[in-house]
């Protein structure tokens, strides 16, 4: 425990902001589906596809921005498939989310060999990730700007008012001449775009490489951030920063004698602990259904 005073410093905070950014981007996306009344566990799979296609696009074109665009497109397509199943075919969102996640893991692992010519992970010194502005990727600033933008869209813009109406009572909303399906599809698409950006930030900036299943539960951490924040963008930013700090600790605590597996556990244990300790903050809605 003696190390702790020396462990919290400015560099750790900067690192926490970097690690928080993919969580925040995915969580902001998840706010839209959550507010539309969809329990969306597919954030994880959409992020993973964003990461994979991001690196693949960079590998194909040589441009990280082109890679990001390809990753965002792929994640959005996956989000629209999720939407098609949940909104049009009326399938259970948790089952479909599970299928989307397993599909993303299988698809990306399958394509790793044909795309990169190797299995498991791909890393090449010629890959240049997103540029840095004052130490941060532009996506970090974008994520920060998207917090007030999401707030405005949700609470001040007609789209957000319709979205929340659909999420709270789809029948009443449709009587008020709002088409719930169109609103829900728009929410899924926005979520896909933001998860694609989250995956890009993870694989094109935090690291510049592809590793199978590299999101490793970050989509679920983002989901917990949404639940704790009750889908409010400002609180989501706070929760994401807290979880970003957990990830930053995993880097900081390496090589000081703690077994690496326990260090790697920190983000998961932190997320579960916060969820259980702050359980009373969760709204009393039907939980697993």
């Amino acid at each position: 425990m003696n190390e702790f005073p020396g462990i919290f410093d400015g560099a750790l905070i900067l690192s926490a902001i970097r690690f928080a950014s993919p969580i925040l981007l995915a969580a902001l996306g998840g706010i839209f589906t959550d507010r539309a009344g969809i329990f969306n566990i597919a954030l994880e799979g959409q992020m993973l596809v964003g990461s994979f296609l991001g690196v693949a696009g960079l590998y194909w074109t040589g441009s990280a921005w082109a890679g990001l665009a390809i990753g965002v497109t792929g994640a959005t397509v996956l989000a629209l498939i999720f939407g098609l199943w949940v909104i049009v075919l009326d399938a259970d969102a948790i089952i479909v989310g599970l299928a989307v996640n397993l599909f993303a893991v299988g698809l990306t692992a399958f394509l790793t060999l044909p795309v990169f010519g190797v299995q498991g992970s791909f890393d090449d010194p010629s890959l240049v990730g997103l540029p840095k502005l004052l130490g941060f990727s532009p996506l970090v600033y974008l994520a920060a700007l998207l917090v007030p933008a999401t707030w405005w869209l949700l609470f001040r813009h007609p789209f957000g008012i319709r979205l929340r109406a659909v999420g709270e009572d789809a029948e009443a909303a449709s009587e008020a001449a709002v088409d719930p399906r169109r609103i829900k599809f728009a929410a899924c698409a926005l979520c896909g775009v933001l998860c694609g950006l989250a995956g890009g930030q993870l694989a094109l900036s935090l690291v510049t490489q592809w590793v199978e299943n590299m999101t490793a539960g970050r989509g679920f951490v983002a989901l917990v951030a949404i639940m704790l924040a009750r889908s409010h963008p400002v609180y989501v930013a706070g929760a994401s920063l807290l979880f970003g700090l957990g990830y930053a600790m995993t880097v900081r605590l390496q090589g000081i004698g703690i077994p690496p597996q326990f260090v790697s556990m920190i983000p998961y244990v932190l997320t579960i602990a916060v969820l259980v300790l702050l359980a009373r903050r969760l709204r009393s809605r039907p939980v697993t259904t």
């Binding site: 089952i95 989307v100 599909f103 299988g106 060999l113 326990f262 969820l275 359980a279 697993t288």
Partner: protein, 352 residues
């Protein structure tokens, strides 16, 4: 249209359509890897059920898939989305390996029983925790069970890498020491890996079926799965039912890890559960069978054939093994439509 399809085809039509669509999508992915779908599926068939040896391999691989599929499926049947089968299985395998090895001096029967019980208890404890959080605090267990998978896998990797690492054979793999032969399940068909755990895979579906359809606990479980609020209004103690269901579900998932260790790996071998995604294949089998315990075993054998055939596929063609994971995910997507129809029918009945 869907209702018409349902009425015409009977209960087997829907899973068969799901599998057919999934294999069709799989063929597209084979083309994407610039190989011939016909060749790929022929290799898949030959590698999984083409010879006696491959059938035995498929049956052996199916054993833990059946068991973990029954465990996760039981919770899903009750409306509890236990995504933690993987972690529960990992801890079951770890506990069996550690306890079995520690009790080596004792007579074989005591060691065997202790190894099996410890695996089930480990899995049950890891499942009761999120079940209790859901029941007491309404923390959705779909999230906590999934996150706990990572914690369990990292913990088991630590145990197998440092304190209890087997350094005897100069192995570079993280693994615990080999169990005494008295604990290893005997081979049933000589010359193949098929071990006595196959009886667990054959008897357990009947046991789960009996639990669900012939006991009062099973009745409460099924009522809870049909409509939780209705069951609670009818006097079902919901908190206790959730925790009990998770305990049974986790114990069965832990047993899947136990069977894997006692019959195949004879030790905790890091990555032997997470790597091939045994738990997720089991869950897919459960879904394909609409969580019917007896059909789960059949579906698990089919998915096991895909897994075993996929390994052969990778050797004989340029198609990566992960093709079978894509096929499995499409199966779940197809089945998701069907599962929902059952739910809606039930909800309508509950309202009426």
């Amino acid at each position: 249209m869907r209702a018409a399809l349902r009425e015409r085809g009977g209960p087997l039509a829907e899973p068969l359509v799901a599998v057919a669509v999934a294999l069709g999508v799989g063929a597209l992915f084979v083309l994407l890897a610039s190989a011939s779908p016909v060749d790929a599926y022929r290799a898949l068939w030959n590698g999984s059920v083409g010879t006696t040896a491959s059938v035995a391999q498929t049956a052996t691989t199916a054993i833990p898939i059946v068991v973990v599929g029954l465990g996760m499926g039981l919770a899903f049947r009750v409306g509890l989305f236990n995504l933690g089968g993987e972690g529960q299985m990992v801890l079951g395998a770890l506990a069996t390996s550690v306890v079995g090895h520690a009790l080596e001096p004792l007579p074989g029967v005591i060691g065997f029983v202790a190894a099996v019980v410890s695996g089930m208890v480990a899995g049950a404890l890891w499942a009761v925790l999120p079940g209790w959080w859901e029941a007491r605090l309404r923390v959705p267990l779909v999230v906590t069970t999934l996150l706990l998978n990572y914690v369990a896998a990292l913990f088991a990797t630590y145990i197998a890498s440092y304190p209890l690492r087997d350094r005897s054979g100069g192995s570079t793999l993280a693994q615990t020491a080999e169990l005494p032969t008295s604990l290893q399940l005997p081979i049933v068909v000589s010359g193949t890996p098929l071990h006595a755990g196959v009886f667990a895979a054959l008897l357990l579906p009947v046991a789960v079926w009996w639990l669900l359809s012939r006991t009062s606990l099973g009745y409460v479980m099924r009522m809870t799965g049909l409509n939780r609020d209705f069951a609670e209004a009818g006097g079902v103690p919901m908190k206790r039912t959730i925790v009990t269901t998770m305990a049974v579900s986790g114990a069965i998932c832990g047993l899947a890890g136990t069977v894997l260790v006692l019959g195949q790996t004879y030790r905790y071998l890091d990555g032997s559960i997470v790597g091939p995604g045994i738990a997720w294949t089991g869950l897919t089998a459960g879904m394909l069978a609409a969580f019917n315990p007896l059909f789960t075993a059949v579906a698990a054998f089919f998915l096991s054939a895909l897994q075993v055939g996929g390994a052969g596929l990778q050797l004989s063609t340029s198609v990566p093994l992960q093709l079978v994971n894509v096929i499995q995910a499409v199966i779940i997507l197809m089945v998701a439509i069907r599962l929902w129809m059952g739910r809606v029918a039930r909800r309508r009945r509950a309202v009426a």
